[in-house]
Symmetry: C2
Subunit: 136 residues, 2 copies
Amino acid sequence: MNELRESEEIESIGDLAKELGLTTRTLRYWEEVAIIESVQRADGATRGYTPYYVRRIKFIMKLKELGLTIKELQDLYIAYGEAKQTEKMIPKLVEILDDHIHKVDEKMAKLASLRKELVDYRQRMMTKFNLPKENV
Amino acid sequence: MNELRESEEIESIGDLAKELGLTTRTLRYWEEVAIIESVQRADGATRGYTPYYVRRIKFIMKLKELGLTIKELQDLYIAYGEAKQTEKMIPKLVEILDDHIHKVDEKMAKLASLRKELVDYRQRMMTKFNLPKENV
DNA sequence: TATTACGTTTACGTGCATGTCAAGTATTTT
DNA sequence: AAAATACTTGACATGCACGTAAACGTAATA
């Protein structure tokens, strides 16, 4: 699969999966839902990844680590396609990141109040535990 | 369905669902996964809920609002079955709550660091945006 | 009594993000 | 060229928490 010589131009899906710590299934799925690409090919032909595509996939991985959903990444991919140039996509990316930061803030707020409720509830239970009957 | 007179002993699933703001499907599902009960009955006979069961279901709802999963509630149900008395179940409940509080803490920590990364990343993107080529 | 308004179980559908076959094709190695 | 390995697509499986519909039984009402 590796030509071991100087040509590291095109990488196979298996090699790339190993390199990135993903499964081939994941790479195909991401392509299926249109958040990544591989090189053009005829139907049924083998997928190939140039360093350019690899960089873009790493970029997607980074954003996934940041908690972006497939849906958000799809929006970004569309913007990418429309922008034609990476630079023009950045405002959209920043917008999506802002959106996501906002969502994270909301989640954190919810968890904080949840935590408080849990602790309060726990306290009430503990108190109840030290009392006699009349429960449930 | 309601006998309108003094007997509010046994409630039907439809009435209870409405009262609690759940669907009948949810009540049957919860019973199916063994986190709630209804009165004993022959196969295929109609479900009935006494005030006791209603209280227990409200209790489960409360815990679900607190974010407890079905799995956690199943553990609690088992403990309830073993305890035979509500009071004896409380230590287990407190344990489950502690576990859950811990999980919430972990989630919050993750979100906090995620948020930081997002903001940093956003900042890097903004900076990049004000620079010329050499992207992706 | 006929209709309607419930109730019952069984079982497939949903949304995510893959995992896991299966059957066939392509490529690489011997 | 043959064998071994890796690739392809398609489709079903997973876990959660139900939604939805089918096909049927029962109970209340006009």
